[in-house]
Each structure stands twice: as structure tokens, then as C-alpha cells.
């Protein structure tokens, strides 16, 4: 019994043995944080600073300093270092999360103004851009089609490339492929767009179409798929490959039936992240798909629209109604990516190797 009591951190307790030392109570960091925020806000108000960012910075600084001082007093220098590292991690975490949450908040609150069933099911056909009305249907359709085509091109090629690199590639060719994949990862999207523009549109003479944009998106997507799939395949233990080979299973079947199923969760997540990346691309779409106010369900002929392009166009118009449409479309875009992500997580969880203990 006495053990249980002794183990619980007691506020400002005196050390009881050579191994025990005084410890701050559990609520201490929260209290210090609250105090720092209060002090930061108070000082900010008193000094008349307008920027809330300055208040936040001051609070964060106070939090780290106060943690250090309090811990040194109570727990000693070594614990103080430990606490200061912990508090820095917390500050960084908050710094990362605050913009994210505020972005989500702003998009949702502004986007919901015009987002409704009508907005989702109508195009801008016959709508004056400076006035209210119209919708995002044509852009949503365009985005779905372009992303789907890009995925159909890039995912199989990327997957097979990764399988080649991990399972077969040993020599110079594999090194060269790895190098080019690395280079491709860094290609700016506008360059991919220009590449397709110069070959497909200018040299071969095709007009703007969703397919042209999808090709540029596929170029951007492929290296991401290769890289993530490669990492996932490398995680598959060699023992599983050997177990399968030792059963007299040919290598290609081993890859198909043992290696890929074991890694499928991670591969799916990687492909979904790649999709999320290209869904927001504007530059190649602007060059190759051109944009339109009308519904064009055929991705192989004629201009289409897409969500990021729509956001850009509406924002450029600049009237209140157009900007509201831009926010709503941005919300649709984020929701689209989010739904894809959730689906990917679902698949990953469903397909992941089960431990079943």
C-alpha cells in the first residue's frame, strides 16, 4: 500500500530516498501554460499590441521560460532540461496545429455561405460571373475525371516501376530509374504542364482537353507513387518472400500473392496521398484544360474546368458573390480530398496484415 502512495507524484513532495525526487504534480504543465497565456494576453493588451500572433509568441516564450524556472526550483536541473524539451515539442505542436485549424475554420465558415445542393449540381452556364448564382458541378466533374484518368495512368506505371526497383532491379538500369524518379519528384507542376503543352498540344496539334491535363497530373503523380510504393515493398520482410519461394512458388506469383497483399495497405495510402497532391494542381490545368463555364462530361475533347481552377477564376473576378463561390469551391475541394483520405485509411485498415491476438 505504501508503495502506491509513494509512487503517486505529490505536489512539492520532499525526496524520500536516494532514487526518489520531488516532482511537480500532473496538472503543473497545464497550469503553467494557462498562466503563460494569461500573462501573454495581459502584456499584449497593456502594451497595446494589435497582432494576436505577437500575443501568442509571447505566451509561448513565457511558457517555455516558466516551465524551466519552475522545474529547476522544484525538481532539479536535469528534470528541467527534460521538461523544457517537452514544452518545446508542445509549442511546436501548437504552432503547427493553429494554422491548420484556422484554415479549416475559415474555409468552412466562408464556404458554407453558398454551398448547397443547387451549388453542387449546377454549372456557371448563363450566369454572370460578377453576380450571385451558378454552381460548381462542371468543375467537380472535371476534377473527378482528370484525377481518375491521371490515377489510371500513373498508379499502374508507378506500382510496376516500384516492383521492378525493389524485386528485380540491381544493376545500372535500376540506379538510373531511381535517379530519374528523384528528379521527377522535384518537377514544378507548371513545367509538367509546359511539357505536355509543347508535345501534345503544339507538336501533335490537339486542343485543350481534360485528358491533356490528366497527362500532366500523371507526370506529377508517378514519382510519388513510385517512392511510397518502394518504401512499402521494402518493409515486407524477406522471410516471407523466401517462405513463398521455398514452397515452389514462382517469383512473379510470390510478388503478386504474398508481397503485394502484405504491403497493400501502405501502397493504397501512398497512392491516395499522391492523388490528394495532384487534386489541388492549378497550373497545368490552366494551360491544358483551359477552363469553361459549361458542363463538358467528355474529358477527351474540349475544355473542361476543375475545382482549383474554378477557385482561381472566381477569386480573380473579385466581387463578393464570386469570392463566396471561390470559398465554397475550396471547401468542396478540401472535402473531396478528405473523403479520399478517409477511404484510403479504411482500405489500409481493412487490408492491413492482421495480428489477431
Amino acid at each position: 500500500m505504501s508503495h502506491a502512495v509513494q509512487d503517486r507524484p505529490v505536489a512539492f513532495a520532499k525526496p524520500r530516498g536516494p532514487l526518489a525526487h520531488a516532482r511537480l504534480p500532473r496538472w503543473a504543465p497545464a497550469a503553467v501554460a494557462a498562466g503563460s497565456v494569461a500573462a501573454g494576453t495581459g502584456i499584449g493588451l497593456a502594451a497595446g499590441w494589435h497582432s494576436k500572433v505577437q500575443w501568442g509568441m509571447l505566451s509561448a516564450l513565457l511558457f517555455v521560460l516558466a516551465t524551466y524556472v519552475v522545474t529547476t526550483k522544484v525538481e532539479g536541473a536535469r528534470q528541467a532540461k527534460d521538461r523544457i524539451a517537452t514544452s518545446l515539442v508542445w509549442v511546436c505542436f501548437v504552432l503547427a496545429v493553429v494554422p491548420l485549424l484556422s484554415l479549416a475554420w475559415v474555409t468552412v465558415s466562408k464556404g458554407l455561405e453558398v454551398l448547397d445542393g443547387y451549388f453542387l449540381t449546377h454549372s456557371m452556364n448563363g450566369v454572370l460571373e460578377v453576380e450571385a448564382g451558378g454552381g460548381v458541378y462542371h468543375a467537380l466533374l472535371g476534377t473527378i475525371e482528370q484525377v481518375a484518368i491521371a490515377t489510371l495512368i500513373a498508379a499502374p506505371i508507378g506500382l510496376l516501376t516500384a516492383v521492378y526497383l525493389v524485386e528485380y532491379g540491381t544493376g545500372k538500369l535500376a540506379k538510373a530509374v531511381t535517379f530519374f524518379v528523384d528528379v521527377m519528384t522535384g518537377i514544378p507542376s507548371i513545367v509538367a504542364g509546359l511539357f505536355v503543352l509543347s508535345t501534345w498540344t503544339l507538336m501533335l496539334g490537339f486542343g485543350p482537353s481534360g485528358f491533356a491535363g490528366a497527362m500532366a497530373l500523371a507526370i506529377l503523380m508517378m514519382p510519388v507513387v513510385v517512392r511510397s510504393t518502394e518504401e512499402m515493398l521494402k518493409l515486407v520482410p524477406n522471410e516471407l518472400r523466401e517462405a513463398s519461394l521455398a514452397l515452389g512458388v514462382p517469383k512473379w506469383r510470390t510478388i503478386l500473392k504474398v508481397v503485394l497483399p502484405t504491403a497493400i495497405g501502405g501502397i493504397t495510402t501512398g497512392v491516395m496521398l499522391a492523388i490528394a497532391r495532384i487534386t489541388g494542381e492549378t497550373a497545368p490545368i490552366l494551360l491544358l484544360v483551359f477552363g469553361t463555364k459549361l458542363i463538358n462530361p467528355n474529358p477527351f475533347e474540349g475544355a473542361q474546368s476543375s475545382l482549383p481552377l474554378y477557385v482561381y477564376e472566381q477569386y480573380a473576378v473579385g466581387t463578393d458573390a464570386a469570392v463566396a463561390r471561390a470559398w465554397a469551391a475550396a471547401l468542396v475541394l478540401i472535402a473531396f480530398v478528405m473523403i479520399l483520405n478517409l477511404v484510403a485509411r479504411g482500405i489500409a485498415r481493412w487490408k492491413a496484415p492482421k495480428t489477431g491476438r
Binding site: 521455398a246 514452397l247 512458388v249 502484405t262
Partner: protein
């Protein structure tokens, strides 16, 4: 059908490094042959040359002949995949397929090779699991993942998986080294039963185990670290453990080594 293995002049390399040198031996059918020897002397390497798994390792290369009855495993035109169907293998660490259920693990060899009749599959799985002394423990949860079993059960699952494809020879690389004494005993009993049907080769670091399960024992040694391993002697297990003909063997077995 258990088959005789006849190895002559076999050397194996990892890239430029020669791991085993000029090994010749005969492994009798329907018997258990144990490989013993210090760490790094090439027991695993040699074992893996017997079903052409050695060449799966990057840089792995083999010289010499391995006759299975009267067919050279390294003859021209021999398909390593076919060799591995004839010569099965159980690894040191249990390695069931994590995406598959217990049933699917045992059926994996047949399914992945496409060499089975649907109606027979359940029978084969049951027979193999019974053969591996695992049936009673798993018959109620055949659809649960194989990785949910204990280490000893997983190893017996791997043995069931290996015998489900009806090989002629079964190679085991330290199959009990990760197991507790009870599971070890279960697997040793199993080996005693399996030798009625298969030719069995087992690598072990456990002298008692070699003495308990094997009919013949081969002692491998290496002159120095970095030198290739060699076969020192192969004889009836009783002789090896009572009256070996080479001094090094006696030293190793009695613990007066190195």
C-alpha cells in the same frame, strides 16, 4: 516419395566470398540427418544449396553437383521452382504469411502453384495440420490469422505448410531455436513421425537434439573466421557422439572447442 540426396564437390559463394568448400556427402532417404558445427561454418548455406534457395540471395552462386536420386539439381534446364516443390524448407524463425488465415497458410503452396483440386483442399489442409500435430489446437479457428498463434504453433504451422505440397525432402534450419522446451519436444516428436515419409535434414545447435532426433550426423567446421566451411565427418549419430573418428568433432561435441 522420400529421395536420396547425393552431393559431390559442392562449393557455395556469396559474391567473391566462398562460404563452403568442396562438400560431398550422401543423405539417406527416410532418415534424419543432422548438421552440427560452430556458427558461421556454412550449415545454413549448405542447406539452402539443397533446394536452390542459395541463389535467391544476391550474389549467391554454387559449384558442384547435387543429385536427387538420379537428377542433378544444378543440371542445365532444371527449373529451381520445380526443385523447391520437391525439396521443402522450414526456416529458423516461424514465418507464416501475415495476410492469410491458418487455413490459407497451409493451403498457400497448393493455391499459389495452382496445383490442386478444390474438393481436395480441405482434406489436404486437415491432413497436413494433423501431420504437424497442430490440428487439435487450431481446428476451431482455421479462419483466424496465422500470426495470432504462439511461436511454437506458428512453427508447426510452417511445417504443415511445407508438408502440404508433398515434398520428397524436408530441410529444417534450426526449427526449434526460437521455441520453448515443450514446443521443441512436440517438433522433435513430429520429426520422428515425418521421417517415415520424407528425407529430413535438420540444422541444430543443440547437441542433445541432434542425438535425439537424427540417424546420421554431419559435423562442419571452418579453419578460421573468413575461411570457407568444410564437412569434417558424416557418420551414424551414435558413432559421432560416442566415438567420432576426427578429434575436432570430439572436441566440439564435448565442448572443448576453439
Amino acid at each position: 516419395m522420400a529421395k536420396r540426396i547425393d552431393v559431390s564437390g559442392l562449393s557455395a559463394y556469396y559474391g567473391a566470398h566462398k562460404a563452403i568448400d568442396d562438400i560431398s556427402m550422401t543423405v539417406e532417404p527416410r532418415s534424419v540427418t543432422a548438421f552440427i558445427g560452430p556458427s558461421g561454418c556454412g550449415k545454413s548455406t549448405f542447406l539452402r544449396t539443397l533446394n536452390r534457395m542459395h541463389e535467391v540471395t544476391p550474389g549467391g552462386r554454387v559449384e558442384g553437383k547435387v543429385m536427387l536420386d538420379d537428377e542433378n539439381l544444378y543440371g542445365s534446364g532444371v527449373d529451381p521452382v520445380a526443385v523447391r516443390r520437391t525439396v521443402g524448407m522450414v526456416f529458423q524463425r516461424p514465418n507464416p504469411f501475415p495476410t492469410m488465415s491458418i487455413f490459407d497458410n497451409v493451403a498457400a503452396g497448393l493455391r499459389l502453384n495452382g496445383t490442386y483440386k478444390k474438393s481436395e483442399l480441405a482434406d489436404i489442409v486437415e491432413r497436413s495440420l494433423k501431420g504437424a500435430n497442430l490440428w487439435n489446437e487450431v481446428k476451431d479457428r482455421l479462419n483466424k490469422p496465422g500470426s495470432g498463434l504462439s511461436g511454437g504453433q506458428q512453427q508447426r504451422l510452417c511445417i504443415a505448410r511445407a508438408i502440404a505440397v508433398e515434398p520428397d525432402v524436408l530441410l529444417m534450419d534450426e526449427p526449434c531455436s526460437a521455441l520453448d522446451p515443450i514446443s521443441t519436444l512436440a517438433i522433435e516428436d513430429l520429426i520422428g513421425e515425418l521421417k517415415e515419409r520424407f528425407t529430413i535434414v535438420i540444422v541444430t545447435h543443440n547437441m542433445q537434439q541432434a542425438a535425439r532426433v537424427s540417424d546420421r550426423t554431419a559435423f562442419f567446421n571452418l579453419a578460421a573466421v573468413g575461411q570457407p566451411g568444410k564437412l569434417i565427418e558424416l557418420d551414424d549419430t551414435e558413432r559421432i557422439f560416442s566415438n567420432p573418428s576426427v578429434q575436432a568433432t570430439e572436441d566440439y561435441i564435448s565442448g572443448r572447442f576453439g
